[in-house]
Amino acid sequence: MNRLYDQFRPSSTPYIPPVWPAGLKLVAATVLAAFALFSRTWELAGLSALLVVVFILVCRTPLRPLLRKIWLFGPQFGFILGLYILRLGPGWSVVSEALRVSLQIWLAFLPGLALYHGLSWTQARRLAHILLPRQTAFVLCTAVISVPLLLREFQDIYQVQLLRGARLRPRDLLRLAGWKDVAYSLLFPAVVQCLNASAQIAQAAELRGFPGVRKGDVWPYE
């Protein structure tokens, strides 16, 4: 009997990964992105590209989501190159300048993406509780958790209002009446849902002794 109980007993101390590597990654990503933005020569841009690649390898980010974002580089390069040629006339130096500028903007974007795919929710939440004031951390974490639920409720509101005959389909947005219906029959109930949810969560948290005792505690306690 005891062995059976032991088998299904929830482990008393769940494994919590240490938080300092996550903090280090956050700092590194911020520094790398800032460095990429301010590296204004080709040598510095190359160095920053190298550092970003090292960062991605060290974080062991899955490569597929990163590869999916490569296409962002193309249209932006085209747009900036067009502007440069419009202003300075065609020439190899102009192309190289435009290429460097769009590479910089793109490189500044990569470390954050790598961080996002390399950070677990538990780590992010503990990091938020260490870095931010207690109420801010609680509010942001709660909002992140409950927004998917809210979005599902918005979807329900949308479907119900469509059945009631509100003009909410994408092609209705070409006329003024569609926008009126968006404001009155979709946005208004959605905002009321948000107000309602925030009042309920605030009351529930306070009844459970919200602000807690020590700073750095993750509330509700892990």
Partner: protein
């Protein structure tokens, strides 16, 4: 107790605004190829937050939180400077709301706040382009073109706020 309860409730509403702003921006990534179309969502949530939560800096709070989240989640191009793209419009909204008393009652003042938010976004674009070292003429052309789109869309977004606020007031929810 009551005061703290209200503070927590308002903070939660601002948090919802910030997270919804970011998630809506991801969900409705229309491939319109018009620069600045995301300002529709940004200016709507910023002005809504300022209208619903009484406080001198409520829009800035939403902007700051959304910017923090965008920097940590690695959305959008611009690294840490991405934060300015949310904080500048929010500051413009807050300052505008201070300068225009009773702005919630009129469509025109709301539209003015929307234009202010668009201008704030343009300022942030200028800053990012300057940081990467773009040539001055190209910089103004690039930021100006994007800024025009931002102003138009944020004007549209701000026009959605007054009907919602009117209804909320009619139901005594403000």
């Amino acid at each position: 107790m009551n005061k703290q309860h209200h503070a927590l409730r308002n903070a939660l509403f601002l948090g919802f605004c910030a997270v919804l702003l970011v998630s809506m921006k991801i969900l409705f990534r229309w491939h319109l190829h018009i620069p600045g179309h995301s300002m529709l969502i940004v200016s709507f949530f910023l002005i809504l937050a300022r209208g619903v939560v009484p406080g001198k800096l409520s829009a800035s709070t939403v902007g700051l939180w959304a910017g923090l989240m965008v920097v940590v989640l690695g959305l959008g191009k611009g690294g840490p400077l991405q934060m300015c793209k949310y904080v500048f419009p929010a500051l413009f909204v807050d300052i505008g709301a201070r300068l225009l008393p009773n702005w919630t009652h009129s469509l025109w003042t709301c539209a003015l706040l929307g234009v202010g938010a668009g201008l704030g976004k343009t300022g942030a674009n200028l800053l990012v382009d300057w940081a990467v070292g773009m040539e001055t003429g190209v910089l103004f052309l690039h930021a100006g073109l994007k800024g025009l789109g931002a102003v138009i869309f944020s004007l549209l977004g701000s026009l959605l706020v007054p009907p919602v606020l009117t209804r909320l007031r009619a139901h005594r929810l403000l």
